[in-house]
Every structure is written in C-alpha cells, then in structure tokens.
Amino acid sequence: MQQFPCPFCGPRPEDEFRYAGDAGRPRPGRDASDAEWAAYLYFGRNARGAARELWIHSYGCGRWIELSRDTVSHVVDGAKPMNP
C-alpha cells in the first residue's frame, strides 16, 4: 500500500486518508455571479499530471492537509497543512 506523508503524523498508509477535493480554490464573495458560483462549485481543474489536492487524515489526526500528487503516476511528492 502507498504511504502518504502526513505533515502532523509522518508517513501513514493511504487508507487512512480521504480525498476532499481540489486545493487552492478560494470561495467567491457574496456578490459573486451565478457563473462565478458555478465555477467554484463544479468546474474543477481535473489536472492530468501534477495536482494539488485536499485530503483529510480521517483515520489518523483528523486534520486537513494539502498533497502534491501526480494523477497519472500517483506519486506524492509533497504535503503541508491546509491553508484556508
């Protein structure tokens, strides 16, 4: 099984983590248009290759982290605490 590096707990089996969406997508302001809301809610990057993703270490420390993961090779080459 693949090991994911939790910035809080160190390397842990991937099964302990849950995927939670694309990272780096700021929530739009209150005056955002329908199109801006739709872009935020639905239109993800769906990167082929290098991606930044949010994961939750659900069966570990329970904290949200940001992983740099390649969506073709599945190699994880970085992890940091999530910045809201």
Binding site: Y42, N46, A51, T71, S73
Partner: protein
C-alpha cells in the same frame, strides 16, 4: 459493405473462409471534413453513423488516438438499463434501450444484446422504501420497473444466500425486465462498419493535440498526423475531456476517476440475470464465455492511471462472495480499469462548448455504454442542425450555472 447472413456464413464455411473482407477501412486523414469527431469510442462512432444515416452528412471523420473501442467502451461491464430516477434521464436512457433492441438488425452486426433482466437487491426495510420511491418515479416515466418480493428475487438468482440472518439478506428487489448486456467491442465495431459503409472515415492512431481558431471560431484540429480542417468539431473523449477542453481554453465540471471491473474464471451457466446491490456497491453478471463480470464504485481519488487499486477490488468482490457463497471457490482471473469522466450530478453533458464550433458529448462517467445509441443520435442532431434534440436539451453545460442539476444519485452503483 459485405452483408453478414446465415447464407454468407454457410458459403464461407464451404470455401475455407477465404472470402471475408475487413469490416471497415482504416483511413489516412484528408485535409478537410465537414465534421470531425474526436474519440473513437462508442459515442464518437455512433455519432458518425447517425450523422450519415439520419442527416445525410458523410464528409465526417472519427479521429481516435489509439484503436477504436480501446477506451471505456472496450473496458466496460456492458450493463444496459434505463432505471433512472429523473424523468429527463429516464427518457434519454429508455430511448437508448429501445434503440439497442433493434440495433443488431439495423447495423447488420450481432451485438449480442441479451435482455436477461436486472435485479437490484433490497437488504432491509429501508432499502425497500427507497426502492418503492424510485420505482414510482420510474414507472411514471414509462420505464418497465417492478418491485418484486423476496421469493421472486431468489427464484431469479437461486445462488443468492437465502438465509435471513446472512450478511446481505434478500428482502426484495427492484427489477427491470428489459435490462441486459451486450458485447462491447461489437457495439464499437458494428457502428464503425456501418458508418464506414456510408462514407465516414475512421482514422486510428491519430491524436488530437489542440484546436485552431479563425475569428474566435474553431476551424481545425491539430493532430499527431497534421492539421485537419472542419466546419464543426465534436468531442467525445470521456475521461480525457478536461485535457482537450483546457487545450482550447475552457474548463469542464468533470473529474476523471478510475472505474474498475474484474472477471472470474469461466464456469458453466449459473446466473442468468444481472444482480446489483446499491447498499454494498457491487454488481455481477455472467458473460457468454462463462466468466462472472463484476464491478462496483469508483476508485477513491481522481486518476488518469487507467488501473484500479486493490482496495476497491476487494470492496467489490467481498460483498459479492457474501451474497453468493458459491462464488467463493472461484478464482479472480483479470482486473482492469478505465478513466471515466464523473460529473457533479452523475448526468452527461451534451451541448455546445464555450468555444463556437466545438460541441461536447461527455460526463457519462460510469454509465455511458447503455447510452451509446441515444448519445450518438442526439449528438448527431446537435452537430447537424446546431440545435438540441429535445432529449439532450436538459443536459446542456448551462445547467450548472442555472443550478438545474439532474442529480442521479440513484444511479448509485457505477454501471
């Protein structure tokens, strides 16, 4: 086109099968077509066929980067059904099932469509209640759905564990009699052969890398085999849709995930319907070769790897073995994955792209094989006329900004 018939078969048998000719011609690209379709899966090929047959447009090319049917169409578990919750989905998928019913004759190609029926098992009182709600909605849409009792479900799949105290007790089932399976390659090949016979060019080993615009309108595709001009371009590349959209400068509400399937070693006929469980996320049918074909939910995070992880393999096989104890003695023979284009509401996206001249057919996710004849029909209509077919209008890309999602959560298990 060389027509296939019993007479032809006998004739060829008598002369050592020396007279068969290739089903379609593998073409080199020409510099210009009226319509270029990107992606030689079921949807691209069916669209090409219906463009030629329904609309008389024959200057059409299908560009496939690998070989036709080598994407999800050739990797899927071939469940064909129309038990969808929302009337707009039921209309689209039921139209597709009806087209499948006449397809072998229409294409003169045996697609081995076998309407063996499907039962989705209710394991609890709560399951039964959810199912009766779903059944009512589907019946209002005219889909042949029946809620059946425990005895009838067990009679349809006698190898199900009948004991009330087992892990997945059978309380009843949602049955669609007209559901079934077909031969996936045959659907791709049958459409390819019929389209080629009408003048469509099928071009394999030709990857589309980007698009060229003139005055803000897409006018050509850049491919690994050169530039090809087109009046209109249709994209039907499933899990690769976001990459092509990005090459043109727009984004799509899709995530690409691995969906996997697996087969057991072949055994004698022991299961003559499709059995699925939304509760434990698995389904099984038996192929004509005798293998048990199994599938379940998406892998756990976005991926373009085209291979599934062991965790999901196990989560599919374990409950099936609990439901069918006899299957526990079989070996798993093969396991594979395809990259599917999951949309936020489990419904497809059909309509014009934000860039004029480009049209989209994507977002079928885990369940677009059943929709190939309908997808081809409505996409051909869109490309030929520039306007939606009534069945595809609700599935336009604009539904996301309008908040008019068609949430097929009931599509449940991925097939």
């Amino acid at each position: 086109m060389q027509r296939y018939s019993t007479w032809r078969l006998i004739r060829e048998a008598l002369r050592a099968h020396s007279g068969w000719v290739p089903a379609w011609e593998d073409r080199d690209p020409e510099p210009r077509y009226e319509i270029v379709l990107v992606g030689g899966g079921g949807h691209g090929l069916a669209t090409a066929y219906y463009l030629a047959r329904n609309h008389g447009i024959r200057r059409v090319a299908v560009l496939e980067r690998g070989w036709i049917g080598g994407g999800n169409t050739g990797r899927n578990t071939t469940i064909i059904r129309s038990n969808y919750f929302h009337p707009r989905s039921a209309a689209l998928y039921d139209f597709s099932v009806r087209l499948y019913e006449g397809l072998a004759r229409e294409l003169n190609y045996n697609i081995m469509f076998s309407q063996r029926g499907m039962i989705e098992i209710a394991h609890s009182e709560a399951d039964l209640e959810t199912m009766s709600r779903a059944a009512n909605s589907m019946r209002l849409s005219g889909v042949d759905i029946t809620l059946i009792g425990r005895e009838q479900a067990l009679a349809m799949a006698p190898l199900l564990d009948p004991s009330p105290g087992c892990r997945w007790p059978v309380r009843g089932a949602l049955m669609q009699r007209r559901a079934g399976t077909a031969r996936h390659d045959a659907v791709a090949w049958g459409y390819a052969r019929a389209a080629a016979a009408l003048g469509v060019h099928i071009i394999q080993g030709c990857e589309v890398l980007g698009f060229d615009s003139v005055n803000g309108r897409a006018a050509a595709v850049e491919t690994s085999r050169g530039r090809i001009e087109a009046d209109r371009i249709g994209i039907a590349v499933a899990g690769n849709s976001s990459s092509l959209a990005r090459a043109t400068g727009f984004e799509l509400p899709l995530h690409s995930y691995t969906l996997q399937a697996m087969v057991s070693e072949p055994v004698k006929p022991c299961l003559d319907c499709i059995v699925s469980s939304n509760t434990n996320g698995s389904y099984v049918s038996q192929s004509d070769k005798g293998e048990l074909v199994m599938g379940g939910n998406l892998d756990r995070c976005p991926s373009y790897a085209q291979r599934g992880g062991f965790r999901v393999t196990q989560s599919v096989v374990a409950p099936l073995v609990e439901m069918f104890p006899a299957f526990g003695s079989l070996r798993l023979m093969r396991q594979w994955g395809g990259t599917v284009d999951a949309s936020p509401d489990n419904s497809p996206i059909i309509g014009p792209a934000p860039v004029p001249g480009i049209y989209l057919n994507c977002g079928w996710g885990t369940g677009g094989f059943k929709a190939i004849p309908a997808g081809g029909t409505v996409f051909a209509h869109l490309l030929a006329t520039g306007t939606h077919h009534p069945l595809s209008a609700p599935f336009d890309l604009g539904r996301f900004a309008r908040g008019e999602l068609i949430d097929e959560a009931h599509a449940g298990v991925a097939h």
